[in-house]
Amino acid sequence: MNVAIETRDEFAVEVKGTVGFPFVDHPKFETRHVNVSYGDKQAIFDVGLDIGDKQIIAMIGPSGCGKSTYLRCLNRMNDTIPICRVSGEFKLDGEDIYADSQDPVLLRARVGMVFQKPNPFPKSIHDNVAYGARLHGLASNRSELDDIVEKSLTRAGLFKEVKDDLHRPGTGLSGGQQQRLCIARTIAVDPEVILMDEPTSALDPIATALIEELMTELSEKYSIAIVTHSMQQAARVSHRTAYFHLGKLVEVNDTNTVFTNPEHKLTENYITGRFG
């Protein structure tokens, strides 16, 4: 009975070009012809993708498909890995971020990152959030700094829970609270783009739901790119979804399309759990 009547594309690893809409009008971040390799091993093959302004784009795909590597290119975190070689065009608001004249420190103040395992500094909650702001001189006196801390914690949905003692160590919070603290720390420097690398994979369902809700709120002000292993998470929070497969970008479409009627067979297979 299992007669395959429709085959849109060969069920093969050969991916010729990206289907869907990888590029958008007025993107926040434009990337073209991105190739990344670790020493001899190439991890990303000729990827072209736009990050939309004040939108959430989710990057999904099986393990080792290059989505985290791609994400880390966007704030030049791959610079810290000596054997990693990045080539291609990366334009944030039209400016090449890999140009010699560009300072990665400044870039990272505009493009923040939240990691998979919550990593608050071993300082107090207040100092955690204030660190970035203090570093970049965003507050001219103590009360302004406190203001920034309070606003960031509120926006991260954490203020109510910690406001009675902001000088507790950040590491004493629960996992979900710690991750929200890291998010507060990131938004305290008022970035334009927030990158999230599997932000809830280490958290329980309720903490996950809180953070997803937070993401939706944050997307009104920031452009967000998230890498996730959970397709349901991508389906819940993102506006656009990009599917990576073995270092190539297979399909990019708005999330509704990807999850009801994806264009590429590989995408369909991954989403329905047929492989990967």
Binding site: I5, F259, T260, N261, E268, T272, R274
Partner: protein, 240 residues
């Protein structure tokens, strides 16, 4: 598109079971429909009685299949093709159940008409309409079984045939009613049977539309045939 080959064996089995249940229901409904027609045409009141009292089985199947769909959706969060399969199945069984209801109606009228001659005078036309409808029903279920959107499209295009037959039959029946007022009651019964048959045809077409949605991912309900062909099938032809 293939149902099977998920990584989860249980998921595969669940979908297989579901499909088999639908086909089984389809078979039962086909049987009801053909029996109803036979009972009407051959004035077999025992068969008619059987048809009229067997509808509960089909209703039961509808409930079971809907329940299955709900469970699979809850447990598997299906997406893309799997999601469309489940949505289409849920709608499909509704239409099948309605076909069963129409067959039951025909059965009940057939019981009454079995003792009269009325049917003999329009036997050929009724038979013709009935055949068309049964073919369409069979064809639509076949499309579902084979996930054949092209064939489904073809079937959908043939709905005017049924309309034409029904119109012809209606004219004939009106003539009969005008000829002899004593016929009116029974002729009305026949008209209602014909109507039931025409409705079965509509439902069979719905089933074909669901198959197109399932396979192509496009909802073609309430769209004219020309537009559907133009938009979705012509493009396929071009790209092949």
């Amino acid at each position: 598109m293939e149902i099977g080959q998920h990584i989860s064996q249980k998921y595969n089995e669940a979908l297989e079971t579901l499909r088999n249940q639908v086909l089984k229901m389809g078979g039962a409904v086909e049987l009801q429909a053909s029996n109803a027609l036979k009972a009407l045409l051959e004035r077999d009141d025992e068969l008619a009685e059987l048809v009229a009292t067997s509808d509960y089985k089909i209703n039961k199947m509808e409930v079971e299949i809907d329940e299955e769909c709900a469970q699979i959706i809850a447990r598997r969060q299906p997406a893309a093709g799997d999601l469309r399969l489940l949505l289409a199945t849920a709608k499909l069984v509704t239409d099948l159940e309605r076909i069963g209801d129409e067959a039951e109606k025909i059965g009940r009228y057939a019981i009454k008409l079995a003792k009269k001659d009325t049917v003999m005078e329009m036997h050929a036309e009724l038979s013709h309409l009935g055949e068309l409808v049964l073919d369409m029903l069979h064809g639509s279920l076949d499309c579902f079984a084979r996930m054949d959107a092209d064939q489904a499209m073809n079937i959908v295009s043939e709905d005017d045939k049924i309309d034409k037959e029904f119109d012809a039959l209606s004219r004939l029946l009106i003539t009969h009613m005008m000829e002899d007022p004593r016929n009116i009651k029974n002729v009305l019964r026949v008209i209602w049977c014909a109507r039931a048959l025409e409705r079965m045809g509509d439902h069979a077409q719905n089933i074909c539309e669901y198959v197109i949605y399932l396979v192509k991912g496009k909802d073609v309900r309430h769209t004219s045939r020309e537009q559907v062909r133009e938009r979705y099938f012509a493009a396929e032809e071009k790209s092949k």
